[in-house]
């Protein structure tokens, strides 16, 4: 089991991102998106938000407001593997709620049925399970994305196979 070190982005990397987008429309959104992507734990630590606020000269409250408003942004470290279950209409019609229940049960995550959380990370930080409103892959519902790879027509059996492949150490190629 790896111990995770909380690392905000190194200064130069963040500067590079900020300068790349400075002055363009939507610069705050694009900056935060890229900063999150480049962070090894795929999240935005507080320090990053503060730096962005200072360098772009945007009030911290506004940066915080944006970071918390959009579901794409993670303010806590993500697990090594991300499982995203699509909860779009076509997928829901074909039973994706059951898949979400199954995958969280498989990983031993206790979920509040009507809780506000839409993202759950296992205590060993190996897996993060989250939902997305719609991947736009509706013809292949139900859809589950694992580590960036989209799997279509997923049922409980297929899901089990995918999860055990990952647990056995075979990572998905992007």
């Amino acid at each position: 089991m790896e111990t995770l070190i909380n690392t905000p982005l190194a200064g130069e990397i963040l500067d590079e991102i900020i300068e790349k987008h400075r002055g363009k429309p939507g610069m705050l959104l694009t900056t935060l998106e890229e900063a999150q992507e480049k962070n090894p734990l795929k999240y935005l630590p507080g320090e990053t938000l503060v730096e962005v606020s200072g360098k772009l000269n945007i009030p911290y409250t506004q940066v915080y407001s944006v970071a918390t408003f959009y579901s794409y942004f993670n303010l806590t470290p993500q697990g090594k593997h991300t499982v995203v279950v699509c909860r779009g209409t076509a997928c829901h019609t074909k039973g994706s709620k059951g898949l979400l229940d199954d995958v969280t049960a498989l990983l031993g995550i206790r979920r509040d049925v009507d809780g506000a959380d839409s993202s759950f990370t296992t205590s060993d930080n190996l897996f993060t399970v989250r939902t997305v409103a719609c991947f736009g892959q509706c013809a292949q519902s139900p859809v589950v994305e694992v580590d960036g790879v989209i799997h279509s027509n997923v049922n409980a059996q297929k899901l089990l196979k995918i999860m055990s492949r990952i647990k056995n150490g075979k990572t998905e190629k992007k």
Binding site: G26, L28, C138, A139, S141, N155
Partner: protein, 1044 residues
């Protein structure tokens, strides 16, 4: 570059579209890749280099038929394009190998394309392969008109020269050099193009407002935030043809005087973002973006901003706020973006698809465009057809096409045995449209008229296994979660509505909740700031309007018939059983070898266990979860074995005595039941145990109804039925036979002597065929023939018999007559798979070699000179379009045939014989007795009804289930309190769930061989052996066990 150079480039690069060597195109949209198209592409590339074949390989976007991905097209010069579907790596290798050969690879061939109209140019591939359907002849594509999707799947989206080679950017060149901005706007106004994002505002008018703003900084924005779950048209439009969008925006920028454009694409579409950025790069390199475009003086730059997962940012003011680096919260309008938008400047926002229509309008002209579609809704629209539909994919049809065309003609129905129930359109702002309204045209206004909206084009098909209350809750959850939180009606209102709906799905709802939902919906709709809130109640209001009975079932019966809301049923089998038998319960008790307890448990729920164990349709098995592993559990056979064994051992005596002792104290109320069929017998069984004085009247000499007089002995031996009926008699039920309503039984007399009457008269009248010759001698009604045979008489019928019909009566009649040595032919106007008869019966009939004539509609009964039947004239039919029942409509071919025979039996359906009742109570249009859904009261408050007399011909289990519910309702009225639950008791048993079930096929009971059964009426099935029963119960997965 000068405008004229575009034309030159187009000619120079024509070879990209019509090369002189063979070319393979692989669809590489996100769904294609998600289904392995990238592996297929790699394989083809390898094969080409290994085989040393001269062949180009191109990646394209998506052709639209997502259910058939990966799609590969093969072009050889002079021949039509061959389209292959569901291609795997092996197919890929074969396709490459076939290039050098004479014979084409035939496997996985979907269709051919002879020629294609790109609208900006035309191309002819070649003629030939007439035996293959042309692309627009296969059901999915038939009727589609590809305007927006004109290039998708046929060009490389990552190559600008492909786009130019088919005529792209020509419209731009022409506009920049010869058309004034104001005239561009006029053309768009003339075309009657309306916003394709869903609101449908006239695009030209919007552009006009922008154009008239004083010059200065102006912005145009492409809204590619496509947040509607279930909609992915915009994703495909960008992934397959990004230049179409760029060209549209360039034309718009020129017309409106903007120099800066932003494409706001949601982050969940990484491939679309990548392809768009690359297209922008390439356009810039060719001088089509940047400064002084095509020498016209137009400056335009296009930036891509990715959304970050907020559905509300599809709303234009929220989108603008998002780009400005704020949280995406809508602002009141006015001011509209056209006067004050992004960074306070005039801004025009249009949906992706709206922009994509612009180059076509400028190329072909507004007259051409508005000739498509309807008066108020011009042009085509792309829809995503998904959900419980066979042919899923992207469908582009002229606006005004009817819903049924989408779902049945193009979609092919559900593709399973389940029936379509509704279509959800317009995403979370839309509504659920029931089957009954499928003839509604799809355009901006017509759907509004029935309470739904067209929205951005998402169409999710739902079948009978979808719970509409759950659908409403799902959308509310989505909308509540996506609410920006700014205004109270949306933020608080949706949260409260969600809480109410959640309680209803948990069985904690009340009737007051429905009124509250409607009230809340109205308030939220009227007072929300933006369209998210204003339309969020739509899913709830439409489902309340069209599926109110589902809400009422959840509230009043605490049941979810679709089997979705898990708090409302223990297991899918129990839920699907019309009698709600505790199936996991009796299976577990058998596992524990507690046979008497198991029998007692079934008997409390089902008064005719041996009978139903033989003849039921087994609704339980249709939903058994074990089907996902191997095959459903044979609950029916287990159930039958249980009853048979108990009867053999004589153990039923004790159990019946127990029930007799348990009877509730006499109530002094008298109930008369008319009809001793399944429904009547069931009602009697429960009413007498509740302590009432019960008398059953029936027109026939013996009790049993259709079980006695309609079902042949080889399926249900009479002794067994009589035994079970006798038991009901021992409980104290009085039977008065040979009494017929309207004859020697008067309803008024009954009313005087009874406190309540239950009518269970069934549906016994055969429907007339209404063809010439129906009154010839030798024409019989199916149920009459069965009745005669069940009474031991040999019907006075000829030797060569033709039976018209395909239900259980027709099949039962044909198999019975076969056993009397007759020659039997069964004639049906549809195909074998459409027959409503029991599947087991059908397969046994085939084994017995009953002759069938499918797709043959009865046309005339031909009689000889003395008036006796001598032949049935049939018309050959062919399967047409799929109709609302999900089956193909038979279409006349004009070809006739005469089938010689001396008797004709009509068995095309039954009706309720209700003429005597017409004056006493309300009947439905087809003669059934009208009752309240929950109280089972007819229009006369003292008279109740149930069974086939209310539902029309249905299964015995359904009739019995209805009777059971009716008894609970009757008793409640008579005694003023709920007592029905007093008739059951708790059984305690183990709750272990099988840990690692291994696949094992279901046990199958032994049956008589055909030789041993075709000349007698002996019971065909032997039922399970003890060993089989013990094995079968172990297969149950105990879905009813819940963890705490």
């Amino acid at each position: 570059m000068r405008p004229s150079e575009i034309k030159i480039l187009q000619e120079q690069h024509r070879g990209r579209i019509l090369p002189v060597v063979p070319m393979i195109l692989v669809g590489m949209g996100t769904c294609g890749i998600g289904n392995g198209a990238d592996a297929v592409y790699a394989r083809i590339m390898r094969q080409i280099s290994e085989d040393g074949i001269e062949c180009k390989l191109k990646q394209t976007g998506c052709f639209g038929f997502c259910a058939e991905e990966p799609v590969v097209m093969l072009y050889r010069p002079g021949a039509p394009m061959l389209v292959y579907s569901k291609v795997n790596e092996k197919d890929a290798a074969r396709i490459v190998e076939s290039i050098g050969k004479d014979r084409i690879y035939r496997n996985k061939l979907l269709c051919r394309i002879d020629k294609w109209d790109f609208l900006t140019s035309k191309v002819e591939f070649g003629q030939g392969y007439a035996e293959l359907p042309h692309w627009d002849e296969i059901p999915f594509f038939k009727g589609q008109q590809k305007v927006v999707l004109r290039h998708a799947g046929l060009i490389d989206p990552e190559e600008i020269l492909d786009y130019i080679a088919v005529g792209g950017y020509n419209a731009l060149a022409r506009v920049l050099s010869t058309v004034e901005p104001a005239d561009v706007v006029n053309e768009v106004i003339e075309s009657k193009l309306r916003g394709r994002g869903g609101a449908g505002f006239p695009t030209g008018v919007k552009w006009g407002i922008m154009q008239k703003q004083e010059s200065g900084q102006k912005y145009i924005i492409c809204n590619a935030d496509e947040g509607d779950p279930g909609a992915y048209m915009n994703r495909n439009e960008i992934e397959s043809d990004p230049h179409m969008l760029i060209e549209g925006m360039l034309i718009g920028a020129y017309a409106m005087g903007a120099d800066s454009g932003i494409a706001y694409v949601r982050a969940e579409y990484p491939l679309a973002v990548k392809r768009l950025k690359r297209a922008i790069q390439q356009a810039g390199d060719l001088g089509l973006l940047g400064e002084n475009i095509l020498g016209s003086g137009l400056n335009f730059r296009l930036d891509v901003v990715e959304g970050a997962g907020a559905f509300v940012c599809g709303e234009e003011t929220a989108l603008i706020a998002s780009i400005e680096g704020k949280a995406g919260r809508p602002t009141p309008r006015p001011p509209y973006p056209a006067s004050r938008g992004l960074y306070g400047k005039p801004t025009n926002i249009n949906n992706v698809e709206t922009w994509c229509n612009v180059p076509v309008i400028m190329e072909k002209g507004s007259a051409w465009f508005k000739a498509i579609g309807t008066e108020k809704s011009a042009g085509t629209k792309v829809f995503s057809l998904v959900g419980k539909v066979k042919n899923t994919g992207l469908v582009e049809l002229p606006l005004g096409s009817r819903l049924e065309q989408f779902v049945f003609s193009i979609g092919g129905g559900t593709g399973t045995s389940r029936r379509v129930k509704a279509v959800q359109t317009g995403g979370p702002s839309g509504g659920c449209i029931p089957l009954a309204h499928f003839s509604t045209p799809v355009d901006y206004e017509s759907l509004n008229g029935i309470g739904a909206i067209m929205g951005s084009g998402g169409m999710v098909v739902m079948d009978q296994d979808n719970c509409m209350v759950d659908v409403a809750r799902y959308f509310l959850e989505f909308n509540a979660g996506e609410s920006c939180g700014k205004c109270t009606p949306c933020r608080e209102g949706l949260a409260q509505a969600l809480a109410i709906l959640t309680r209803i799905t948990r069985g904690q709802g009340t009737i007051v909740d429905l009124a509250m939902l409607e009230l809340l919906g109205g308030v939220i709709k009227d007072s929300s700031l933006c369209a998210l809130g204003q339309t969020a109640p739509n899913p709830v209001t439409t489902t309340l309007k069209y599926f109110r009975h589902e809400y009422e079932e959840h509230i009043r019966e605490k049941r979810c018939h679709a089997g979705t809301c898990e708090s409302l049923f223990p297991a899918l089998c129990e839920n699907s059983c019309p009698l709600h038998m505790d199936i996991p319960g009796y299976i577990e008790l058998i596992k524990e070898e507690r046979w008497e307890d198991a029998f007692e448990l079934t008997l409390r729920d089902n008064p005719l266990p041996g009978t139903l164990g033989r003849i039921c349709h087994f609704h339980c098995q249709m939903r058994c979860r074990r089907d996902m592993l191997d095959q459903p559990v044979s609950q029916g056979e287990i159930h039958r074995y249980l009853a048979d064994t108990i009867y053999q051992l004589g153990k039923e005596e004790d159990i019946y005595r127990k029930l007799i002792k348990e009877k509730l104290p006499p109530t002094g109320k008298r109930v008369a039941i008319v009809g001793a069929g399944p429904a009547g017998l069931t009602a009697a069984f429960y009413l007498v145990r509740l302590g009432h004085d019960v008398t059953v009247y029936d027109a026939m000499p013996e009790a049993g109804g259709i079980l006695r007089y309609g079902i042949p002995q080889y399926r249900l031996p009479q002794e067994l039925l009589q035994k079970e009926i006798k038991m009901i008699g021992r409980l104290g039920v009085k039977f008065k036979m040979n009494r017929r309503l309207g004859g020697n039984l008067s309803l008024d007399e009954l009313k005087k002597e009874s406190d309540a009457i239950f009518l269970a008269i069934g549906a016994w009248k055969d429907v007339a065929l209404n063809i010439p010759g129906e009154h010839a001698k030798g024409v019989f009604a199916g149920s009459d023939v069965l009745k005669e045979m069940s009474m031991g008489k040999i019907p006075q019928i000829g030797q060569q018999i033709v039976i018209v019909g395909a239900g259980n009566v027709a099949v039962d009649a044909s198999r019975s007559l076969l056993r009397l040595g007759k020659e039997v032919i069964l004639v049906y106007r549809r195909e074998k798979k459409d027959m409503p008869a029991n599947a087991v019966e059908m397969s046994e009939a085939e084994e017995e070699q009953i002759k069938f004539r499918f797709l043959s509609a009865p046309h005339e009964i031909v009689a000889d000179s003395s008036g006796f039947v001598r032949a049935l004239r049939i018309e050959k039919m062919r399967p047409g379009d799929i109709d609302r029942s999900g089956r193909r409509n038979p279409v006349s071919t004009g070809l006739f045939e005469e089938v010689p025979c001396d008797s004709v039996i009509l068995a095309i359906g039954e009706r309720v014989s209700s003429e005597e009742l017409a004056e006493s109570m309300s009947l439905t249009g087809d003669g059934r007795i009208a009752v309240d859904r929950f109280t089972f009261r007819t229009s006369d408050p003292a008279i109740y009804a149930g069974g086939d007399a209310v539902s029309g011909p249905a299964t015995a289990a359904e009739a019995m289930g209805m009777a059971k519910r009716a008894v609970a309702a009757i008793d409640k009225v008579l005694m003023n309190k709920e007592r029905f639950h007093l008739l059951s008791r708790e059984f305690h048993y183990g709750n272990e769930v099988p840990q690692n079930p291994k696949a094992s096929p279901k046990n199958v009971a032994r049956r008589l061989s055909v030789r041993d059964r075709v000349n007698n009426f002996n019971e065909i099935s032997f039922g399970f052996t003890g060993e089989q029963a013990r094995n079968e119960v172990e297969r149950c997965l105990r879905c009813d066990v819940r963890c705490q």
